[in-house]
């Protein structure tokens, strides 16, 4: 981070020009698209906005998305922390490849993740072939969406927790052991409290990503209104069907929600919580 340059008058003038240029570039690229959502969502006034938001299928889609996001965050909080703990505290064979593997979902396009799940759990899939006759059909059901989100968002929790674990002084743990605390007690009373910040921001990141996930969801959900249609799929379907106001009303709600989550993320991972640059 470089401190703001306090130059001569000419420097101030050129700086103002640079900043203005930056705004001129970023306004149409970043700011105006968000404005457009709210303008279109609010076109019919508040009453129309509320009527649209209150539609049963819109309500259902938002609730489903929130439920999925909640379960995904909880599941990944446990699974991600466990993975981070093992990767950070244990040295074992295959640790290198495993570290790469767990971060892979960030690099794979979400549509590909959706396809891969269909080809694993679907009726013609590797496992699905055997499970389908038994009546276990996770695809085109909420469980399928959950599985997809679990996979897509897995690296976020890991990325938030593992750096903290890596930096955690071993001496604290050793002190706890020497004082007679078991592995479990050490984890609960020494490690977990230190992880609070990482866990919190990891959960929020996972939640936000799950809430907006589209690519994998569209492949595995079946897009059934009132059954498996999440909020982003609802927005897409409504937009496709030409119901732009309906699509934008839900989009605006998602945008506000993401904004709030982001604000909290900024607060909790702000300068005080951040290490390095």
């Amino acid at each position: 981070m470089t401190p703001a340059r306090q130059d001569s008058g000419r420097g101030g003038w050129s700086q103002r020009l640079t900043v203005t240029a930056l705004w001129a570039v970023l306004t149409p690229l970043l700011l105006l698209p968000i404005v457009a959502i709210f303008v279109f969502a609010g076109r019919g006034g508040w009453t129309a906005f509320w009527r649209t938001i209150a539609l049963p299928d819109a309500q259902f889609a938002m609730r489903l998305s929130l439920w999925i996001a909640l379960w995904t965050s909880l599941a990944n909080a446990v699974l991600g922390t466990f993975t981070a703990y093992v990767l950070s505290k244990h040295r074992f064979r295959g640790r290198g490849p495993l570290s790469v593997l767990v971060n892979l979902p960030v690099a794979i396009p979400t549509v590909v993740i959706g396809t891969s799940l269909l080809l694993l759990w679907g009726p013609i899939g590797l496992l699905g072939r055997f499970l389908d006759p038994m009546g276990f059909r996770p695809m085109f059901a909420p469980l399928g969406i959950f599985l997809a989100h679990l996979l897509v968002t897995f690296p976020y929790m890991l990325g938030a927790v593992k750096p903290v674990l890596d930096e955690l002084e071993v001496t604290y743990e050793e002190a706890a052991y020497t004082m007679g605390a078991g592995k479990m007690r050490t984890f609960l009373y020494v490690i977990l409290p230190a992880l609070r910040g990482g866990l919190f921001s990891g959960t929020l990141l996972t939640f936000a990503h799950s809430l907006g996930e589209f690519g994998a969801t569209v492949m595995v959900s079946g897009n059934l209104r009132m059954k498996t249609q999440t909020a982003p799929l609802f927005i897409f379907a409504q937009f496709e069907a030409g119901q732009i106001e309906t699509a934008n009303a839900v989009a605006a709600v998602l945008a506000v929600l993401s904004f709030v989550i982001f604000m909290f993320l900024l607060r909790f991972t702000g300068p005080s919580a951040r290490e390095g640059s």
């Binding site: 209104r225 030409g242 909290f264």
Partner: protein
């Protein structure tokens, strides 16, 4: 050391609480009053049917079923490109009834063993409704487009649904090909040459594609392109939502698409069989057909019903898929051999 909660933590906690309450709300409601007996029938349909089903067929059938049995019927449904929903059903989507844009997708369901009941034994050989293919143009028809041949002109930008996922797009391709031939005379080599020529000309003017006919119309209504090739039903719907902004051109020679209803037997448990059959019958009954006509389709069961909707244009010389030798032959020749293998692969397209 236990610190007092900061203001932010309080706000976060309150927001989380509100969120949880919102999530739990339907659960609380459900326990309060016992719901009437509910039946579920999952329906998948091709994109442009959405409106007619959601606002017409579903409510009408639910009312009828409730009068007869006292049960509520709940219709989880999904509307997308005909090819898309067919693929989803093949991959295990739980549809009990599928409404498809053409027989080709129905045949795929049959071959995979998902549909066992033969739809050709339904009334009108399983054709639940029909619609001719039209061209939507901007207000006042500034480019003077009257026929498919006019779409080959260099100044036209066409919006087209994607034939890989949209059934409507396949019909559109058949119309673009067949309108240049001398059907119903038997197809000659000269006919095929002229049809391919026109198809090639039209596809060199396509500026935008969408996975479904519905999506293509949205693109067009949002200002993209000069012309949209689509179902007449979409033209009727666009006129009623956009008024004068768009005009419907019904070409003198065009194809009459036929949409089929299929029972996906694999996904119909015995206890729902009667419900699914009753729903199928309702689609073909007078009431169901009238609803389709009201939403801009034409009746395959009783063409006399079409007079009930004044916005349906007068058909002079429609081409049917029968004249092209049936869906399978027509699709293989025009869509696969000419469009996919020749035109799509031409460089510079």
């Amino acid at each position: 050391l236990r610190k007092a909660w900061s203001a932010e933590s309080w706000i976060a906690a309150v927001l989380a609480g509100v969120l949880l309450l919102y999530l739990a709300f339907p659960l609380l409601q459900r326990t309060r009053h016992a719901a009437p007996r509910r039946r579920v029938l999952v329906v998948y349909g091709f994109s442009v049917l959405g409106d007619a089903m959601n606002r017409g067929i579903f409510p009408a059938f639910s009312r009828l079923w409730k009068e007869k049995t006292g049960e509520e019927v709940f219709f989880p449904s999904s509307f997308a490109g005909s090819g898309t929903i067919t693929n989803q059903i093949l991959l295990g989507a739980p549809a009990a009834v599928a409404l498809l844009a053409h027989e080709g997708d129905a045949l795929r369901l049959k071959e995979a063993g998902a549909a066992r009941t033969d739809w050709r034994e339904f009334p009108a050989r399983g054709v639940v409704n029909r619609t001719p293919f039209v061209i939507l143009v901007r207000k006042g028809n500034p480019l003077g487009i009257r026929s498919f041949a006019d779409l080959t002109r260099p100044n036209v930008g066409i919006i087209h649904p994607d034939p890989l996922t949209s059934g409507g797009a396949a019909w559109a391709i058949l119309a673009e090909f067949a309108s240049a031939t001398r059907l119903p005379e038997p197809l000659t080599a000269e006919d095929v040459r002229r049809g391919s020529e026109q198809l090639r000309g039209i596809w060199s003017r396509v500026v935008g594609q969408s996975p479904s006919a519905m999506g293509a119309r949205t693109q067009f209504e949002n200002g993209f392109g000069d012309a949209l090739v689509t179902y007449e039903q979409q033209g009727v719907a666009a006129r009623s939502s956009r008024g004068e902004e768009v005009e419907v051109v019904l070409p003198p020679r065009t194809i009459l698409s036929e949409h089929v209803a299929v029972l996906v037997d694999r996904n119909i448990p015995v206890r729902d069989r009667f419900l699914a059959l009753s729903f199928r019958d309702f689609l073909f009954a007078r009431k169901g057909q009238e609803i389709f006509v009201k939403f801009g389709f034409r009746s395959a069961v009783d063409p006399g019903l079409d007079a009930g909707n004044p916005s349906l244009g007068a058909l002079t010389d429609p081409i049917t898929v029968e004249q092209l030798g049936g869906w399978e032959r027509a699709y293989r020749l025009v869509v696969e051999r000419i469009w996919k293998d020749e035109i799509l692969k031409e460089p510079g397209r």
